[in-house]
Symmetry: C2
């Protein structure tokens, strides 16, 4: 039976056209782009082409502002630690939100233990940061604001443009983790007014383990990887050229097909939201009705464990997730869901359904049927559910 | 005309069998190895298989001691900064040598500006560190010794085993940058007695932009990339699975074919050394006669510029290098060659010839003929050479 991928937030398939250019790159026997002989030059040209394509995707006018990295996590570590260390003489205060990805949280925690001070802005019960809270938190010591563009568990999109205006006015460097947004929704670094923006290739159907960091010209940022002069002296190390070429192609396709892809995932989201009440009851939709990724739905199912539902769906060859794949193995309830004001039980009952270009309406039908079966079975044996029923 | 690659130190071709497994991995549509559903498990298994293969190559008994990274530079940054930050409470003194790769030099420089103290051991005129110098430099404050296994410009191999005994005795963490050694010469982390060892896939014909860091169990090292729980909590970020699978295959082949490959490159090295006097005169061999990579020769050509020779050879479709590709664009003479006591002019006249499994004896003949032509042409127009001739 075909596996239905409704866990695009963990991993997207590499699209056939992207596979083709990667396979061609493998066959090409590229030399080192930093070598000065002919074969080095061909590799350097391939690198420039990919950089231009990625720059265009986020409307970055100067392609050298793009630094290729090993993925979203490296980009985020580079941005946060790089800005903090390079600007320590100005101050040591950082502002972030309480729903960030672990890469942001733990990078900042690392800095905290080195004497940096941190203000963590709470989101409202729809998972949104209030820009005024950011403005209020900025002080003379503030050197960095890092607020994510979209959340990987709820899909909620933050008011980045409004925050960008504030940080520009107050001359504070602004980084946004846009790992789950770039290539999915239109992203324009000029319009957003950010100084740094992290993204990852796999979000837009390129290979995993490749990403980028946009660094606006003139921003003071130390490299995370010190060494050779690659990436215009901003990130040392021999390039993952095959992956970068794949990301270049993925960026080109994402730009070209953006509208078509948006329409497709919106249709799927609407179909799920519309039909869900016909299949199950007693659930909470955690995804913002307006400001959210069109490709993601977070649903908290009352009285049961999301993980049990996930495993039962897996038996039916349907892949969904309960939370960020990066947090696998952790037993604690999601910090994101708790921050919305969900109680512990509801947070544990959460499923993240994320879809993409490869999903069909038939996938949705199969998913909804399987979900109904799983929920019914699990509620039948749920003490919480039975107690609630007998008292109701 | 076929391009002859005598610049293996900058980039090795990916071997056909490795290309095949990478292409298969691209076609496989792997999910995220951290996902908990079935497709995630397949990816996790592929990751384990690659880790076991890489662990075997360096005789690491516990495969979890291998951390996959984005290459040698990340491994080195992780090792040096990770040890320094995790052990700052014990002391802030680091010992290194004056011939290290820029990734080591600049990682340590970054720490220096954060208050760490550094002792840089000078090598002798054959590019070797004296272990006694390391012993003498160790003090109560010393938390890390970082000495490279083999040098990327001269090929000289350091007495790592002897240094390993000293550091073990004095309970100082020992890291070796073995990026140009692993997969080329036998490396055994038990025998070497190192605590951390950096390596890169492309050295042994795997893809570029993938590497690993061996971290002996119990070593105190902070992650460089904070975030998710990947790599047993030692390195966050979605894995470059295609690259890692390629490295796993490359490690398997390197182990299996080690003796055959060693014999092949030794033969080429001996042929060049034996025939060189028939083609040119007035040169210095910088490569250690005994302790050196069998796959590399550094030759300083008197009275001319190595870069001019490199460009003339490039016109004949022969790729060589003058120094580390990571230092391209720098006009300064190599710090490695200067540290051997070469004068500035001889350092600038240096060629690095590095060969591999794909080179033939015919390649050597074509190279020597082209080298003779280049040297003759350049010396004809060299004021230094003509002055020396008229006065001699």
């Amino acid at each position: 039976m075909k596996i239905i991928n409704l866990d695009h937030i963990s991993a997207n398939p590499i699209l056939p056209e992207i596979k083709d250019v990667m396979i061609k790159a493998i066959q090409q026997d590229y030399a080192n782009p930093s070598s000065q002989h002919k074969s080095g030059e061909q590799a350097a040209e391939a690198l420039v082409k990919a950089r231009k394509s990625v720059a265009k995707l986020i409307n970055c006018a100067v392609e050298k502002e793009i630094v290729f990295t090993s993925g979203g996590t490296e980009s985020i570590n580079h941005a946060i630690k790089g800005v903090a260390l390079a600007n320590a003489d100005k101050g040591k205060h950082i502002i972030t939100s309480n729903i960030e990805h672990n890469a942001v949280i733990r990078s900042i925690r690392r800095l905290k233990s080195a004497g940096y001070k941190v203000t963590s802005i709470s989101v409202d019960n729809q998972c949104r940061v209030n820009p005024q809270d950011v403005a209020d938190a900025i002080c003379d010591e503030t050197i960095l604001v890092s607020i994510m563009h979209s959340n990987n568990e709820t899909g909620t999109i933050q008011p980045i443009e409004e925050i960008g205006k504030l940080t520009k006015e107050k001359k504070v460097i602004f980084h946004t983790d846009a790992v789950d947004s770039v290539g999915i929704v239109p992203i324009d670094v000029q319009k957003l007014g950010v100084d740094l923006l992290s993204f990852a290739s796999n979000t837009f159907y390129g290979p995993a383990g490749v990403g980028g960091l946009y660094i606006r010209r003139g921003s003071r940022v130390f490299p995370l990887l010190d060494g050779g002069v690659q990436e215009h002296n901003k990130r040392a190390g021999a390039e993952n050229l095959i992956g970068i070429i794949g990301m270049g192609k993925a960026a080109q396709l994402a730009r070209q097909d953006m509208d078509k892809r948006l329409a497709h995932v919106k249709e799927i989201k609407e179909k799920i939201l519309k039909q869900l009440p016909d299949y199950i009851d007693e659930y909470i939709i955690n995804t913002h009705p307006e400001y959210s990724l069109p490709s993601l739905l977070s649903i908290s199912l009352k009285y049961i464990e999301g993980e049990s539902v996930m495993l039962m769906l897996d038996d039916e060859n349907i892949a969904v997730s309960t939370r960020s794949a990066c947090a696998t193995g952790s037993l604690r309830a999601s910090h994101v869901l708790m921050s919305l004001g969900l109680n512990h039980a509801d947070a544990q009952g959460t499923l993240v359904i994320s879809f993409g270009v490869d999903n069909t309406k038939e996938d949705v039908d199969r998913f909804l049927t399987a979900l109904k079966n799983a929920v019914t079975t699990l509620r039948d044996i749920s003490p919480l559910y039975n107690k609630r029923n007998s008292s109701g």
